[in-house]
Amino acid sequence: MSLRDYEEFVGSGTIYELQLLGERLAGKRIVNVNSTAVGGGVAEILNRLVPLVGELGVDMRWEVIKGGEEFFGLTKRMHNALQGGSEVFTPHDWLVYEETTRRNLEELDLDAHVVFVHDPQPAGLVTSRREGSRWVWRCHIDLSAPQQDAWRPLSEYVSRYDAAVFSAPQFSRGLEIPQVMIAPSIDPLSDKNRELAPAEIDHLLEGLAIPRDKPIVTQVSRFDRLKDPVGVIAAFRLARAYNDCRLVLAGGGAADDPEGAEVVRAVREAAGDDPDIHVLELPPTANLEINALQRASTVILQKSLKEGFGLTVSEALWKAKPVIAGAVGGIPLQITHRYSGILTHTVEGTAFWLRQLLNAPDYARHLGENGREHVRTNFLLTRHLRDYLLLFLFLDHPEERIVYLDG
């Protein structure tokens, strides 16, 4: 993909601004460091952003740390504990972390003006930062209520960075270093979000055995209690008493995830033999199917009880669909209640608004159109790219609140 491919979505002015910021960063060397080259949201976004930054004339590289099974077992536990889970850590764990960090420092090329470190796994690399370089820690996870046993050692590393970046205000910690908010983004050119022809949508829905005979209400999310799929079924049934419609719950397969399998069982039990409720376990590659399902839907739900950023909301809004979603995590950043979608807190509230939107198609269309424009302005890849460029520039002006980049 080239930057020019995004012009049809964001206009030439936005592309020009990116080029201008790129010019101001010319000559800077920036290196990203994370823990995986494939799979996961961080690798996905770096795969798209790094070439675009390069196209702007900025030298941006990407390094990946290596570690053994013990190290990645530890960082997975850290990840859970930092997001509020309960884990046990031993002094040996931190020795493993330090030793893996030391070995990576010997192998990685971190010679750059800006070292951009993603998530907890490589955070310890900062211990050997060189004078003159700027270090930024990019946190992609929810740190609002971390287990202190995991956060305390990590925070000692984070305090040595020049800045930290969080996806939403409530995910941040009270750090002494500057904290920047940069929301994640969706790519309008990806299979999950690109335009689909009506015939393509029909074909994909046919493949999923979803009839198009009545309005479709959809929730796309992995089968997790915190996404409240059983609550979605309850809300759907309350609304269906007045509005004939069909519910699709689509999420990743739960074959390797015992907890997920248990949730799927509970969802299937709640659905019973109701012919209007479709529970779809889709493979991770089913991006086009998810795209088609969202485009074929009349209303989209994201009734989360707890949420990270919840980018599925932006995916749905980008398709100009009215969305009803839980007011948790990053969702209120994506939906302004009654302007660009609906925020709810309960099953009954979700059912009430579902009926409203099914019965008021003009208002529903208005919400969807506003939602699409909101995503265009705030949650597309180009905005994400712009914020990263501004962040790199900010590192040279940490005390200023108005910075003139005038030649």
């Binding site: 002015g13 201008l20 904290q179 995590g329 209640h337 424009e373 712009r386 910075v403």
Partner: protein
Amino acid sequence: MANAPDAQQPFRFLSSLNLTLLTNLRARDLAELVQHLHSVSGSVIYHHTHHFLVRHQYLSPEPPNDFAYWISEVLQEDRLGEQVAAIDLMQFRTIRALRERLLAVIETYLEGCRQLRVAPEGEEFHFQESVSFVVPTGREASGLAQFLSCMELIGFGSLAFHFFDARLHLERGHNDFSEWLDSTLGERDLARAISQIDPYTHTMEGLRQEVMRLVRARLEGRAS
């Protein structure tokens, strides 16, 4: 009015691009909101009364400023939310004056308030501030016709800079367009007409169209 001369000093269209910083400050109720409003920097006040204009540049009516939205939608204090939304930002030439007005409205309400409502967990008000990066757009105008052409092409970031940042963030007290039209082109009436537009009740596109309408009318008037 006599025909305006071409300018000696061209108008250079700038644009602002904003990066959001987190402040570590949050409020769970109105008392905490007031406490922090007293001490936060002017950039924080500016961010929460202006960033929504760019974030929601397509909406009409626009959602109210961040303080009013949180008070109405999260605390469910509709009366106060309405009062804070109704604060006329056009009346303030400094952020200090705007801060004082915000505080006066909320503190007066609190005097008659028996019990404070507390935001649900996760829906606290998070104070943020903007770092504005001001960049050239590469466009400049030496006369009125050229000004109109540029106005048609500039992005919303440019409109926002010359209307909002210039007037209140940089505390110039007026928008840049009116200042240039008056002082450099001698277009006093047109400058006054543009300064009387309330930019807070227009979408960004609506604002652009309104300025263009006034400039076009002036050009037609000069031609006839």
